[in-house]
Symmetry: C2
Subunit: 244 residues, 2 copies
DNA sequence: TCAAAAGTGTTCGATATACACCCATGC
DNA sequence: GCATGGGTGTATATCGAACACTTTTGA
């Protein structure tokens, strides 16, 4: 029996901590932003911003942990959330700064850590009620993300793909990213940000007409230096009645 | 500070084992089947069949663990595999039979276990080279699944949704489920099994024409008690060249 | 009066759906 | 010759893409 056979390794099954990390997207005029938190400045690596996350507790499942993280961060109780991938590489905590930060934060020696990544969406103008764990939270445009600890940059990359699948399965989530009343151009720019392509304005108006749960309002923009745009609103009742 | 506040709980972050469980689908004439293994008969619960799976090792990521499980089970080295969801509820190992089986199998007290579920596809007529861990493996029609341990029934349910997403993203996986040469009717019945709906025969032929990587062959069925059907084959080169 | 963005219609090709009859083979 | 399943074509609706000009408003 060789030392590296599977039989030799049977007594080294991992026992590991498990964390959740949340990629919360917001939308601001023309681009997607990610909500990042500041980790206590004790690093020389310059990686001060990271995804909000937490180890999960003994009696907690991952969904509950993710809700807890977002609630501590934003004060929001009800928020749509979607697990999208686990990240399990043994190398994901190889950076010594990251190891040191983990041990300082959780008062435990942590040799392995897997994380379950969640996707969520928020309105960017909502006030954040930041809990005691983090000092600041920042919306950061996805095109200008800093280098982050662990594999958080990769997690955001994959979240950007997942958001399309989510929108296709449940278009309602789009309207989590927009104000209650929004213009056709705002909705179009949101699609453009998510799908990373341009949409023809005329065709897009037809597309809105087909979304029977997006209702035109009488109200229009005011004090804009061009023809005022009509506002639309999302109708949840019609949305829930639609057949798919 | 209340005993049940998050601060109190900070010293009870989980350290847990992590497993992978693989849902391997096969296709047989008209329905999807799942590859199940027999767990050593020591239970009174009647839950003898389960998804193939394993705890993962200290230096192994989950993908590697899933490849290892399938390789031990089938002897196949190269197999398409897709992580699709983690299952983390503390209650998923509440059944006492399941707890006892875990401890007998892994020689460890296991109080919590999260699993990362994988989806894979195999040809149902392939000979299985079953490794030492399990005695038998069985293809079980998804319509006749037994009650299985842990949350394995739920995992299969979710895999049945995931397979559609996978097929849409990478249609190549369909042909993992079919023999090298197959008839239009076989491909159609595979779609019907995956999408759980009927397809019109004439329209389906047009759909095959549009799949430029599905080539008609000269060869036809022989010794069938009806008009012989043409065989088709999947052309991987054309498939890889296609623009999406 | 100008700059800036809003709003609007038609055409084309591709795709999805509905639908009914003849063909080849083994028994 | 008959039962069984294989193979074929047309018509309609919907959808996505391409494309240019007029309208409204504040500065």
């Amino acid at each position: 029996m060789q030392p590296n056979s599977i039989y030799y390794m049977e007594n080294t099954f991992i026992r590991t901590c498990v964390s959740v990390d949340c990629v919360v997207f917001g939308f601001d005029k023309s681009q997607l932003n990610v909500l990042l938190v500041q980790r206590n400045a004790m690093s020389s690596s310059g990686k001060e911003l990271k995804l909000p996350g937490s180890l999960i507790y003994q009696q907690e499942d991952a969904d509950t942990g993710a809700y807890r993280v977002l609630n501590e961060l934003t004060g929001i109780k009800k928020i749509a959330l979607r697990q999208f991938k686990s990240f399990t590489s043994p190398k994901r905590i190889s950076d010594s700064d990251d190891v040191a930060w983990l041990e300082a934060t959780y008062h435990n020696k942590i040799d392995r850590l897997i994380t379950i990544a969640y996707l969520s969406l928020g309105k960017i103008d909502r006030k954040l009620h930041i809990g005691p764990k983090y000092t600041t939270a920042t919306w950061c445009p996805v095109s200008q993300l800093p280098r982050m600890p662990f594999d958080h940059n990769q997690i955001v990359e994959e979240a950007l793909n997942e958001i399309r699948r989510w929108v296709e399965a449940e278009p309602v989530v789009l309207f989590e990213l927009l104000p209650v009343k929004f213009t056709a151009a705002e909705l179009r720019r949101l699609y453009e940000a998510i799908y990373h392509r341009k949409y023809d304005i005329r065709n897009f108006h037809k597309q809105i007409l087909r979304m029977e749960y997006v209702l035109p309002m009488e109200e229009k923009q005011e004090h804009v230096a061009h023809r005022a745009a009509r506002y639309y609103k999302f109708d949840r009742i019609i949305y829930n009645k639609r057949k798919i």
